[in-house]
Assembly symmetry: C2
Homo-oligomer: 330 residues x 2
């Protein structure tokens, strides 16, 4: 009984420090980043920007998840090792911590698991975990930073990906105009934007695009009402579960900063927000938005652009004689 | 007469505010950047990081002149459009304002002239100046920034390259340990480093590698005492002057931050500083350095690493429906 009263009292105390949020809304504000281990985040930032994590020595995480371009590359298909087209559109790294799983098919359970993927994908960075570790281990300044970040000596792929993930955890975009409105600033949105939001809710977009990420928290079929036509071979979630019911099920992309993360869909075939809204309306909701409705929804979507992370470009420690040489043309 | 006295008095006054520099030395310290038009520099930074200045939409100035890697890419040959090898090693952009001309053969008279080159080189960014201007012009936020930076409306290639050059002018690396020593801090260098510097001067390296850039201020023949053997087809300065006497004459590279700008020479064939010192001794000076001498010179060269520019990654304004689409696989 006493414990319960204490909990209620604590609850009341905490409330004082939390900004009022419109609790009834299906979208919640993005929380700012919390950094508990700055040394780990700084190390992760270096690794994120280090092209030596690729076989060629030329492709870093930031090449495709470019933090000058809202964490993506704005290309339909990214460019991998030897200029190979990546078979699926690159999702943004911004707010990716909010995804229920990583990659379009959710095959990585978290950011750490994801970080190990592209570096060994032969059409992306084309390295191996062994080579990545050998490269990082050969650079004394990195070895020192690993010790500082993890509290003990040693470089392994587990630590490399944990550091990258720790940096990525900080890549959030709070303070969008929409979040300001959610937090009670009535002047943050225009009438048109609010009408767009109402349409977004009433027409059913919000059924999948909800939560703080405005998506990212479920897998859904691409093409519910009518099938989505694409030449892209990706089959979606079935590749993970083996369950035919999951064919063409993809992770619902987050709509945070969506104005900046064009082109859209897993095949990158929608060049503009207008096109994306039109296609989604037809294929997922069986609804043809008028030009005016489409424009209102787009106006609402543009209010989801938050503060982009302020990144001071890291200076990478030089290679040594022990560092395996990059193989750009091998 | 009065004017002369005034000049002497002014001279005396100025001296008070200038740090004493070892005037007798053939190398001078790097001066910090002076920013006279911050709006122009900020615009130039955005353009420098913008991959939309390439045909593919994937290669920016920073791809090869990577400011995380001391303004170079640490590759023997850079990777251009469609993964083509660049036929000559990428020199660093750091302190490049000090070069007597730009490119290995000096074909661009200044940074502005240089900036227009790679974007239209078919093996580099593979765009055209017309396309670059069309892309930039189509983005309203850029148009506004051009007006702020230049004082009037209008985007043209002249302004694009002027802005990039203005940013590059700021990319200097003062405060190296060697500069601290030049400025009177006797404890800045170790005995070995000072012995290396003495050897650098006495053996004749300094004949070409002098001035604040420790090079960059003359063209010299690659292979003075004996010819330099390479499969690289570059012919050097003759390509600019047409004078056969300029065959294999290349701009002497600056040695500032040379510890970070590996691999070395116009063909990138020297992987380490030790190799570069050995080859230079033999081919340019007819001298075989002992292992100890080589190590001392290398120790001196590593004192030339200065403060790397602190760059806050720019956030690039999004494309619009009018923006020409990138053509990565066209």
């Amino acid at each position: 009984m006493k414990r319960r009263i204490l909990a209620i009292m604590l609850g009341a105390c905490v409330t004082v420090f939390v900004r009022p949020v419109r609790a009834e809304e299906p979208i919640q504000p993005i929380a700012p980043a919390k950094v508990t281990n700055p040394a780990l985040v700084e190390l992760g930032k270096k690794l994120y920007f280090d092209p030596r994590l690729s076989k060629s020595g030329a492709i870093s995480c930031n090449s495709c998840h470019n933090l000058s371009l809202a964490g993506t590359d704005n290309l339909k298909m990214s460019i991998g090792d030897h200029w190979q087209p990546d078979p699926i559109n690159t999702p943004t790294v911004l707010n990716s911590r909010l995804n229920l799983a990583q990659f379009w098919d959710g095959r990585a359970k978290d950011l750490k698991a994801q970080a190990g993927g592209p570096m060994v994908n032969p059409v992306e960075m084309a390295s191996t975990h062994e080579l990545v570790v050998n490269v990082v281990q050969s650079i004394p300044a990195y070895a020192t930073e690993f010790k500082g970040a993890f509290g003990s000596d040693g470089v392994d792929i587990d630590r490399v990906t944990a550091a990258i993930a720790a940096f990525e955890e900080t890549l959030v975009t709070p303070n969008s105009r929409f979040d300001k409105w959610l937090e009670g600033d009535k002047s943050a949105l225009t009438k048109t934007e609010l009408e767009g939001y109402a349409l977004f809710k009433d027409s059913g977009c919000v059924a999948c695009h909800n939560g703080p990420g405005v998506g990212g928290n479920s897998f859904q079929k691409m093409g519910v009402v009518e099938p989505y036509k694409t030449s892209n071979p990706a089959q979606g979630r079935v590749a993970v579960t083996g369950d035919d019911a999951d064919r063409f099920n993809f992770k619902v992309p987050m709509l945070r900063n969506v104005e900046l993360t064009y082109p859209y869909f897993h095949d990158g075939e929608a060049a503009t927000l207008e096109q994306a809204v039109e296609t989604m309306g037809k294929l997922q909701l069986g609804r043809t938005f008028t030009e005016e409705e489409n424009a209102k929804i787009v106006a609402f979507l543009k209010t989801l652009t938050g503060d982009q992370p302020q990144i001071v470009l890291p200076h990478l420690p030089p290679s040594t004689k022990k560092t395996p040489q990059p193989q750009p043309f091998g």
